[in-house]
């Protein structure tokens, strides 16, 4: 007999909601990146207008987690699970905001030709997206090893970010007419670097959920 079937079902529902929210944010990030690469303003607007769905899910998750804390007196892993639901949903909400920021840069650039063919930015995007997908998969399968693997890529993204921004800034004197675009692209690099940070934070929370230990995977 499962003595806490009711509570377990509520926890399962909470996890489903979290996965739904993470999926929405992952899609928003992906679409925002595509909109930038393809100068697709329509797709960018779709990302901007869809963000409230992610905010609503965060609210719903917080309400549910707090209600379960109040009514079920969770301890040990149950308590960590609810703590992690609160923390991770806030990280995911920030990811939604970052997707909106990237989409806004797409709108700013409009259909102006890119100052040069984008090569390094899509590469950096790919690593950050991989990290995000790994973090979400690790959460789904409660797999601390995958979470640690995800976080290890953070350094790579940080390094790419540093180099890319340096390079972008050298373009401004040579292409003064593209100053606004170059600044937007530098912002986008910063946003991608933040995506990797949030993915790392999610990964840290999964390690904590499973082991009860705090790992700083960021350094």
């Amino acid at each position: 007999m499962n003595t806490r079937a009711n509570f377990d079902q509520s926890l399962q529902e909470l996890k489903t909601l979290q996965l739904k929210m993470a999926g929405e944010a992952e899609t928003a990030v992906k679409n925002a990146m595509l909109s930038l690469l393809n100068r697709d303003v329509e797709l960018a607007n779709k990302v901007i207008n869809g963000d409230h769905l992610i905010d609503d899910l965060e609210y719903e998750i917080h309400e549910k987690a707090l209600m379960l804390i109040a009514r079920q007196s969770p301890v040990a892993k149950d308590l960590r699970r609810l703590h992690v639901a609160l923390k991770v949903s806030s990280e995911v909400e920030r990811l939604g905001d970052i997707a909106v920021n990237i989409a806004k840069s797409t709108v700013q650039i409009g259909n102006e030709q890119h100052v040069k063919e984008l090569i390094d930015i899509p590469q950096m995007m790919e690593v950050a997206l991989e990290m995000l997908t790994d973090a979400i998969t690790a959460f789904y399968s409660e797999d601390p090893a995958l979470a640690k693997k995800c976080a290890q890529k953070d350094d790579q993204v940080d390094k790419m970010f540093g180099e890319l921004v340096q390079e972008l800034l050298t373009y401004i004197p040579k292409n003064p007419d593209f100053t606004n675009q170059i600044i937007q692209l530098a912002y986008v690099c910063r946003y991608i670097e933040r995506i990797a940070d949030h993915a790392t934070n999610i990964a840290e929370n999964i390690v904590y959920l499973e082991t009860g230990k705090r790992y700083n995977l960021n350094d």
């Binding site: 509570f7 007196s73 969770p74 301890v75």
Partner: protein, 257 residues
């Protein structure tokens, strides 16, 4: 179970086994109890919590067919040795039961009972002890005008605090409490818990409770028993956050079939 250094331990139980006839009720229990701490014992019904508690003041020594082996060292002496003076032992190790069980006497006489047994006769000295004990359990203000009224006229929560006062009146070192709040309303329960928190300044307290939140709130260390075995014994914060044994986790999170 790792055995800790002995200096701070008021009790040091080693390889304790207890049988009721054929029934092996405590199995190789090692259990150090530290001075001026609250130690909680949790575990499913029948796992041996009360049996263990009663062994600490040898309440179960007189039960026919009971066999006890191992060591129960109290203040450095193994009390399982036959020469132990039970009256003296219980002066040091008081006990409070699940239901407040005052004697059908006055409030005053209930509290004075222990000191009188131990030979205190002077009214002035008795008065002092009674007042002090009633103050310690925060009952004095509620009963000071009716010390000669029957104890059975008190509410359940007051009766329980009176029984704690009765146990304290002999100035014990250790207070054993077996589910002291299981028959009380939430406010009386919290009052007893506050009291426990204050009492640990002066006393060592061992409490059996079925209320996991109570163990989490009041104790410094928690022991989890299962079928006569001590499964895990650690700081309460550790037991309720990251227990080592999966059986402990299952029990405290309520996943126990």
């Amino acid at each position: 179970m790792a055995i800790q250094t002995l200096t701070r331990n008021i009790f040091d139980v080693k390889d304790l086994n207890l049988w009721y006839g054929d029934h092996h009720a405590l199995k190789g229990v090692y259990f150090p109890i530290q001075k001026k701490e609250v130690t909680a014992m949790i575990g499913p019904s029948g796992c041996g919590k009360s049996t263990f508690l009663k062994t600490l003041n040898l309440m179960n020594k007189m039960i026919p067919n009971v066999k006890i082996t191992g060591e129960v060292n109290f203040a450095g002496q193994n009390i399982l040795h036959s020469k132990t003076d039970l009256v003296e032992l219980r002066k040091h190790v008081g006990m409070v039961f699940q239901k407040g069980n005052p004697f059908p006497q006055s409030i005053y006489d209930n509290v004075a009972y222990g000191p009188r047994i131990h030979g205190i006769k002077k009214k002035k000295h008795l008065d002092e002890l009674v007042i002090k004990a009633l103050m310690d359990v925060a009952l004095w203000n509620e009963v000071k005008d009716r010390l000669n009224a029957p104890a059975l006229g008190l509410s359940g929560g007051q009766q329980q605090r009176l029984c704690i006062a009765r146990a304290l009146a002999t100035k014990p070192d250790v207070l054993l409490m077996d589910e002291p709040t299981s028959a009380l309303d939430p406010i009386s329960t919290l009052k007893i818990e506050e009291l426990i928190f204050e009492l640990k300044e002066k006393y060592t307290i061992v409490i059996v409770t079925h209320n996991m939140q109570q163990a989490a709130r009041v104790s410094d260390r928690t022991a989890f028993f299962l079928m006569g075995e001590l499964i895990e014994f650690a700081e309460t914060s550790k037991i309720f956050s990251t227990p080592k044994d999966s059986r402990t986790e299952d029990y405290i999170t309520g996943r126990f079939g």
